[in-house]
Subunit: 339 residues, 2 copies
Amino acid sequence: MTARKATALDVAKVAGVSRSAVSMVLNGNIKGNVSREAQERIRAAARELNYLPNPVAVSLRNQRTATLGIVTDEIVTSPFAGRLVSGATNAALARGYMILVVDTEHIPGRDEPAIDALQHRRVDGLIYATGSLKPYSPTDPFRAQPAALANCFDPQDRLAAVVPDEVTGSRRATELLLQLGHRQIALLGGDDEHAALLREQGYRAAMENAGLSSRDQQVVVTGWDIDQGYQAAESVLQEPDRPTAVLAANDRVATGILLYAASAGIRVPEQLSVVGYDDQQNVAANLVPALTTVALPHAEIGAIAVNRVLDELEGGERRTERVLVPCPLITRQSTAPAA
Amino acid sequence: MTARKATALDVAKVAGVSRSAVSMVLNGNIKGNVSREAQERIRAAARELNYLPNPVAVSLRNQRTATLGIVTDEIVTSPFAGRLVSGATNAALARGYMILVVDTEHIPGRDEPAIDALQHRRVDGLIYATGSLKPYSPTDPFRAQPAALANCFDPQDRLAAVVPDEVTGSRRATELLLQLGHRQIALLGGDDEHAALLREQGYRAAMENAGLSSRDQQVVVTGWDIDQGYQAAESVLQEPDRPTAVLAANDRVATGILLYAASAGIRVPEQLSVVGYDDQQNVAANLVPALTTVALPHAEIGAIAVNRVLDELEGGERRTERVLVPCPLITRQSTAPAA
DNA sequence: TTGAAAGCGCTAACAC
DNA sequence: GTGTTAGCGCTTTCAA
């Protein structure tokens, strides 16, 4: 079973050629150097022996490990953006690379050792990925080798960054509500994090566009979690001329809003439309009622970031612009025409 | 900045010794072969040059990569057990290993290529980890090298497995409810997955123990998601002599129960106590009211599995028993004495 | 057209 | 006590 793996020498012996011929043929470096027949014999022998070059030896020789490193502040640990890592892994796998991930769990000072460890392992490229959208000023190692930012961005744009198009996402969500005839639409939850700012921008833009000035706009900042959504709803839905629709800062906030609405006897979507943000797995689609929400394209972000790094690595030039990935609006049961 | 890294030869030159002396000293293999002074000079030179052995070269030479592979069906992709991977990564890092993860996303047939890819990369050990507790029959590669199962187990116990102690967890949860004076306690949600079976076992054991026979026990099987928790609650809480406490199959089911209770005007915990399972991040602690629940020790499971593999790898003998990791009961606001 | 040889950076057996 | 040497498996230059 665990028979010693075949080496290039074994293949050469079987094919009756030299080790170097094997290497050349299998790497496509035959500058008219190996006869057709020999090539055939080599390929046949390789297939027969199930030969694959030992990646460790190749790495030592080529000074490349076919490995990318991801440093993240919380993606693996937290339940939200795991698909970023799997999107990245799949994109890497498709191009013959593997990924080494280190999660710093937001522990101060762990960034640098993590990057060091990855560099020590001779990764060919680096990605810094954050759980929530935020600015991140890349340290030297990121600027000295192929690298990209995922779900975060360099305020000075010295490094390629892949981020969700939050503004358009929340603008679209607001537009949906407006089209349904809602005029009193409130934005609930969130705080001063970057994503909240952008989502608010999109909301205000759509409202403005519909002729609803800031007097008609209502933003209640409480946070990102269920209980904070509950609080926000509590503070806004008790008044007699309450909003007929709310935009939640994310799906957890929406959950809190739904919880409050249920306890207050407010029927969703008949008396109140609710839109979330994230399309969180096992949450948005399973709430009661199922939640209309804006999806965060985490897998795509991871994949694009990886391809950016690999393009640069494989000879492309360095590009530093930000890529905005669209956030699709997903319509479910929590939204309905205004009464 | 990206100055060429120092090699053992550089260190040897600076210290005025041979390459091999450097290697021996830095690896602690001085069988009385190197003079004290030389040792000092070597260490000093290594420090000065910031020398670290190139792991790629060491791998090629030692036929070991200091890398472990994890194949998982959904841990990275799904939002639940990410801490298993980070627990594993941290445990590995602490012993000088790195981890390569491949998530098969439950796609049939992806297991084998994933394992192949990892083996091709010459990982020193393998871990198979599942998102939810289940039996898993390890394929040959797992039995041919140091390996362990995390959150799953070999029905034939040919391989070490690390799993949560689900039975004790739900027994404790039920006991808490009994101590609070509840007698009508229902178990809601779940299906025929292994975890559900064990959790039911614990529930029934505790009930039995309190003198409540199967006639007093009530199990409603609907599934693991929010909407299914809602359904289960709907079917059980409408009756006049409804339970005064419920055990949810997990925190999402508990969320659904809370949602139904709110809409039905049933106050938690005054009129109904609710206990969850998982202690899901950003959910359990943030529900309204904050959820009493049983924590799933994912990080610990990952760490123990890694240490099992590394122990075997570093000379320990192969052990194949199952390790049961305790599930701590976390008391919050959703439970109260029976009225 | 083919094969020999050097070398990536390291460790360990073996001579000195 | 110390240094030399032979590989680990591969790629690529260079000589035949």
